[in-house]
Amino acid sequence: MGVSVIRYSPWIMHFNAGACNGCDIEVLAALTPFFDPERLGVRLAPNPRHADIILVTGALNKKAAERLRRLYEQTPSPKYVIACGACAISGGVFTDSYPVISRADRVVPVDVYVPGCPPRPEAILYGIKKLLDRVARGG
């Protein structure tokens, strides 16, 4: 896989698939200069076609899941997915609610799981770093 592409600066696309905003404000905080994600070469991509990493938050209701699948297809390879927060990992408090699919890995392949409700910005950056390390090792 064209791993060398992502070694430069992986751009992140943040996708809210039915989250409560908790994760989203922490993702937003993690992407500001206070936590400085750009030292990892990471910045927010405006469009799935520009992105290398899709950061999914939220419990994925049925409509959002369809959109996530479409966004994943639009993202050029190599691409990676980070499931951020309890809801994207297991459904969190919304597990078994009628409109939610409740796991991001039921829709797209997930590479890194960042737990927490919501995860701290440091945890989100740590998840990104883990993914980048794995990519650098050629995984």
């Binding site: 908790g22 989203d24 404000i25 922490e26 905080a29 206070f34 405006p46 609610s97 409109p99 919501p118």
Partner: protein, 386 residues
């Protein structure tokens, strides 16, 4: 001239009611806006009926991550009424402190987002930096940065000790200083005035007839604040002003928010200095409620938040109906976009505080040529202003 249809959305990534704005524009002028909701449905009201009273508390907080403490407050104060539990005064003060810290960070967040939307990125970064101080204080009091989860039926989970109190007071001084500076920037900066003043004007009569709430209503000269009109928690004992502005435009709404954040700093300070002695953390709480129903309301950062809780007795609610302020402010303000330029749409939309993040895309459909292309909301905000 061809009418161009521009759906903004349909997914609004950071909004707790993700939404679609279908904008029809003739040239640069907006001629019609239709709002379409129904995305990001998580079935919370139905889940509430299945869960116990205590688990419902956590669910209520997760309706919205930005105003989670007020959601928990409105649920808990309703359930406490049904159960006949009265929280001790110290617990009420601590709840108030957490809710006001949340209001400060929420108002700072939307001010930062507004700065970014109009293209003032430096201000966005500065406000986000100082917002981290508030998040730190929230963590100091509750143990969590975002989801406070400090409420429990009949009290709070954590008490505030002397060391924490002094730390908060000293940090508040810095935050107040910075907020005063940002208010000055919003009041005086040429760029912000150019983009915000006279944009999305709502007259007093329109605000009332369209059932708007919160800073949007107060920005149009109506003095209405649940904290003041129908005090809950410790607000009846704390002196504070209700901020009102008469201009009614996007600028007035933003200045109302920044001034409110300053008022909130005063409330937190007063509450900390007059913290009543006594217990705050209950040793036990009831698990079952009596038969009855209750309507409870609070002032969320975005306006009046109402829960209607019905109990038929037993361990879980029969029905919980939630009405959030953003719902009214977004759905009922379609008329404010008309006649404005396309680039003003994101500004007006943000001035209602729908918590926008930066990943929305806008689909531009040129009906004449049948061409579709995606542009980001940020791009749209800068469109046609040069």
């Amino acid at each position: 001239m061809a009418v161009v249809e521009i759906p903004i959305g349909p997914q609004h990534p950071a909004l707790h009611e993700p939404i679609m704005l279908r904008v029809r524009a003739e040239g640069e002028e907006v001629v019609e806006v239709a709002v379409n909701t129904g995305y990001n449905h998580r079935g919370i009201e139905k889940l509430m009926e299945r869960n116990s009273w205590v688990r419902g508390m956590y669910l209520a907080g997760r309706v919205c991550g930005i105003c989670n403490a007020v959601h928990t407050q409105v649920y808990v104060q309703g359930v406490e009424k049904l159960m006949g539990v009265e929280p001790p005064p110290r617990a009420n003060y601590i709840r108030t402190i957490v809710m006001e810290l949340e209001r400060i960070h929420s108002h700072m967040l939307i001010s930062a987002v507004m700065a970014e939307i109009v293209g003032f990125d430096t201000l966005f970064m500065l406000i986000m930096r100082d917002r981290e101080r508030v998040m730190y204080l929230k963590e100091l009091v509750t143990g969590n940065r975002v989801h406070a989860d400090i409420h429990i039926l009949g009290g709070v989970k954590r008490d505030i000790d002397e060391v924490r109190r002094d730390r908060i007071l000293s940090e508040l001084r810095v935050i107040e200083e910075r907020l005063k500076y940002y208010r000055k920037v919003f009041e005086e900066d040429y760029t912000l005035l150019k983009r915000l003043a006279e944009v999305g004007r709502i007259r007093k009569s329109e605000a009332l007839s369209h059932c708007l709430v919160g800073p949007t209503l107060r920005g149009s000269g109506v003095k209405s604040d649940v904290r003041f009109d129908d005090p809950y928690a410790a607000y009846s004992e704390i002196p504070f002003d209700v901020v009102v502005r008469d201009e009614g435009d996007s600028w007035a709404r933003m200045v109302v928010r920044l001034e409110e954040a300053l008022v909130s700093v005063g409330i937190v300070r007063y509450a900390l200095e007059h913290l009543p002695q006594g217990p705050a953390v209950p040793k036990a709480f009831p698990r079952a409620a009596k038969v009855g129903e209750v309507v409870s309301r609070v002032e969320a950062p975005r306006g009046e938040l109402i829960y209607h809780i019905v109990s038929t007795g037993g361990g879980n609610p029969y029905r919980v109906k939630i009405r959030t302020p953003s719902f009214l402010n977004i759905i009922n303000t379609e008329f404010t976009y008309l006649g404005h330029r396309l680039a003003d749409v994101p500004v007006i939309f943000s001035s209602y505080d729908p918590c926008i993040s930066c990943t929305e895309r806008v689909l531009v459909v040129d009906e004449k040529k049948g061409v579709r292309r995606y542009v980001s909301l940020r791009e749209l905000a800068r469109w046609g202003t040069t």
